[in-house]
C-alpha cells in the first residue's frame, strides 16, 4: 500500500504597523520587558479595543493579492482559552467571517509552478511571551514570567487547504508568502525574529483515497530548514505507524530541533473547545467598496508578475524566482544591467554570483555610492569582447567595490587588458614553441593535455595579458602546421 501525505499550513504573519491591533501602544523590538502597555493589551477590566486601520488595510492587501474573496461584512470573535500569556483569557480573532476566503498562491520549485489553494486569511492579535523558570525542563518549572510587549501585536493568519504534498512544496510556499509580505510592505518577514511563524497539519492516506487520514499538528518549527525536516520526519513516522497497524491520534506534536524528532505536546482541542462567540466590544466590520479600491490602488507589482517579467528578459523560471526573492536593489540592478547588455545570463550570473559573493565576503551591505550599474555592464561587455579575462574581471569588480574608480581605469592601472593582436601573440608563440620542442613533440603524439602547459607559458610571458582562449587556438594551429 502506497501512502500519500497531505499537508496544510497555518502561517502567522506579524504586521509591521507602528501600533498594536486593538490599542495604540507601540509595536516594539526590545528585550526590555513590559514597556509598551496599556489597559487594553493588559486585559484590564473595562478597557475597550479599537482596531488599527493600517492593519486592516494590510490584511486586505494580502487577501486581494492572493486572489481571495473579500468579506465585505465581517466581524471579530473571541477565541477563549485559559493561559497566562493572554490576560483577557480570550484572543480576539475571526471565526466564520474572515477578511479573505478562497485564494491561491503560485509557488515555484526549480522550473515548474504550482498553485497552493488558500482557505482563509484572518486578522487576530498576538499573545505575550512567557518564560518558564526552574531547573530547565518545562515540566519542572517553578514559576512563569510574562512580558506583554507582544500582547496585541497584529497578526494575520493564512491557512492553506490540505493540498501540499511534500516538504519541498511547503518550503516553497513559505518562501513565496514571505516574499509577498515583504513586497506588499506589510511585514518585515524576518523568520529569525518570529515575524513569520508556521504550523503544519500532516496526515497520510492510501494513494488515491478520497478521505484524508487523521491529522497531526506540528508546532515549533522556526526556520525553513526545521519546517522541511519536521515534515519529512512526521510523514515517515505516520507512514510507519500505518504500515505497522498503529492508530494515529489527533494531537499536537512539538518539533525538537536538537533531537530532530516530533513528540506529543497535548491532545488537540476541537474548535468547540475555544467557545468562539462574536466579540460584543467590536461591532460589525464593513469594508466599503471605496476602502477596497483604495487598498487595491496601493498594490505593488506581485512576485508572480515580477517573475513573468524576468522570464521575458530571457531568464529561466528558476533564475527569475531567485531574483524575485532578492532585495529590491538587486532586482532593479538586474533590470538596468540587462537593459544595457541584453545578456540575461551574464547579468544574472554577475549580480547574483560574483557581486553578491564579493559583497558577502567583504561584509559590504550596500553598494557604495560611486558604484554605478554601468560598471557591471562595462565589465560584461569587456569580457564579451575579449578585452579582459574572467579572472581580471573579478579583480576589477573587487576594486570597484572598494575604490571610487571605473572598470577601464582599473584595467589600465593593473594592466589587465588582454592582448588580442594576433600578430603579436603569434610572435610570442613561435618563440615559446621553439623553447619547448619536447612538449610539442609529445602533443603531436597525442598528449593533447600538454597544450595547457604551453598556454600557461604564454600567459606568464605576457603577464596575463593574452586571452587564453585565443592563445590556445593559435598554439594548436601552429603545432599542426
Amino acid at each position: 500500500m502506497s501512502l500519500q501525505p497531505t499537508i496544510g499550513i497555518e502561517t502567522h504573519i506579524e504586521l509591521n504597523t507602528n501600533t498594536k491591533m486593538f490599542c495604540r501602544c507601540g509595536v516594539v523590538d526590545t528585550e526590555d520587558p513590559n514597556i509598551s502597555l496599556c489597559p487594553t493589551c493588559l486585559g484590564l477590566p473595562g478597557a475597550l479595543p479599537v482596531p488599527n486601520k493600517k492593519a486592516i488595510e494590510s490584511i486586505t492587501l494580502l487577501a486581494l493579492s492572493t486572489g481571495c474573496e473579500i468579506t465585505r461584512k465581517g466581524m471579530f470573535h473571541r477565541k477563549n482559552y485559559f493561559y497566562p500569556d493572554l490576560p483577557k483569557n480570550y484572543q480576539i480573532s475571526q471565526f466564520d467571517l474572515p477578511v479573505g476566503l478562497n485564494g491561491e498562491l503560485e509557488i515555484v520549485i526549480e522550473e515548474t509552478t504550482d498553485n497552493i489553494q488558500i482557505e482563509r486569511v484572518h486578522m487576530e492579535e498576538d499573545t505575550g511571551k512567557s518564560t518558564h523558570s526552574g531547573s530547565g525542563r518545562i515540566e519542572s518549572a517553578t514559576s512563569t514570567a510574562l512580558d506583554f510587549n507582544r500582547s496585541g501585536v497584529p497578526l494575520v493568519e493564512i491557512v492553506t487547504k490540505p493540498v501540499i504534498t511534500s516538504s519541498k512544496q511547503a518550503v516553497a510556499y513559505i518562501e513565496e508568502l514571505r516574499q509577498l509580505a515583504i513586497d506588499l510592505n506589510i511585514s518585515e518577514g524576518r523568520l529569525e525574529k518570529g515575524n513569520l511563524r508556521f504550523d503544519a497539519n500532516i496526515s497520510v492516506a492510501p494513494e488515491g483515497s478520497s478521505e484524508l487520514g487523521t491529522k497531526v499538528e506540528i508546532k515549533n518549527m522556526n526556520s525553513l530548514r526545521s519546517l522541511e525536516r519536521a515534515i519529512d520526519y512526521e510523514i515517515e513516522r505516520q507512514t510507519k505507524a500505518v504500515e505497522d497497524g498503529v492508530e494515529i491520534i489527533q494531537e499536537t506534536r512539538h518539533w525538537d530541533e536538537n533531537k530532530e524528532l516530533t513528540s506529543t505536546m497535548r491532545s488537540k482541542e476541537g474548535s468547540a473547545d475555544y467557545r468562539y462567540f462574536s466579540d460584543p466590544d467590536l461591532p460589525n466590520m464593513y469594508l466599503s467598496e471605496d476602502f477596497i479600491n483604495q487598498v487595491k490602488s496601493s498594490m505593488p507589482q506581485l512576485p508572480k508578475k515580477q517573475r513573468e517579467e524576468l522570464v521575458d528578459t530571457g531568464l529561466t523560471l528558476k533564475q527569475a524566482n531567485i531574483l524575485s526573492k532578492s532585495d529590491v536593489w538587486i532586482k532593479s540592478l538586474y533590470f538596468k544591467v540587462h537593459k544595457q547588455t541584453k545578456d540575461s545570463e551574464a547579468s544574472f550570473n554577475w549580480i547574483t554570483g560574483e557581486l553578491q559573493g564579493q559583497m558577502r565576503k567583504s561584509s559590504i551591505e550596500k553598494l557604495p555610492e560611486w558604484f554605478s550599474y554601468e560598471y557591471l555592464s562595462e565589465i560584461i561587455e569587456l569580457i564579451k569582447n575579449s578585452k579582459i579575462s574572467f579572472t581580471s574581471a573579478k579583480v576589477i569588480l573587487s576594486e570597484l567595490l572598494n575604490t571610487d574608480t571605473t572598470p577601464n581605469e582599473v584595467a589600465e592601472q593593473k594592466n589587465l587588458f588582454q592582448e588580442n593582436d594576433t600578430d603579436k601573440i603569434s610572435e610570442m608563440i613561435v618563440q615559446i614553441l621553439e623553447e619547448n620542442q619536447d612538449v610539442v613533440d609529445r602533443i603531436k603524439t597525442g598528449e593533447d593535455k600538454l597544450v595547457g602547459f604551453l598556454v600557461g607559458q604564454v600567459m606568464k610571458q605576457s603577464n596575463g595579458s593574452v586571452n587564453p582562449g585565443m592563445a590556445k587556438e593559435l598554439l594548436l594551429k601552429k603545432i599542426k602546421d
Binding site: T17, N18, T19, C23, R24, C25, G26, D32, P33, N34, I35, L37, C38, P39, L42, V50, P51, N52, K53, K54, A55, I56, K73, M75, N80, Y81, F82, Y83, P84, S130, T131, H132, G134, I138, E139, A141, T142, S143, T144, A145, L146, D147, F148, M265, R266, E269, D273, R275, S278, P280, L282, P283, N284, M285, Y286
Partner: protein, 107 residues
Amino acid sequence: MNYFQATLRKKLSKDFDIQNIAKLASINLSEDEQKELDNDLSIILEHVKALSDLKLDTEQKEIFIHPLEKELELQEDKLVESLTHEEALSNAPESKDGKFVVPPSME
C-alpha cells in the same frame, strides 16, 4: 428542582461534559458543584435550543447578528503613550526583572 425544570431535564439529550468545561476554564469543581452546574447548564442549553424552533426568513440574505448596530470604527496607526513600566506592574501580586510572575503554567 421545580416541576418545569424537572420536565425540561427529562427531555434533555446530554451533549456536553461538565468536567471538560471545568478543565477548559481551569476551575476545580466539587462533585456537588458539578451536579448542580450540570443541571443548570442543561436547562440553559434547553432554553437556547428553543431558538432553533423560530421560523426564520432564510431567503433574506442579510443575516448578520451582533448586539450592536453601530459600524466598527478604525483608528489611525499613531502611537499614544499610555502606562509606564512601573504603572503597568503596580498591581502585579508578584514581579521579577520587570516581568509579571505567575504560578508555573504550561499547555
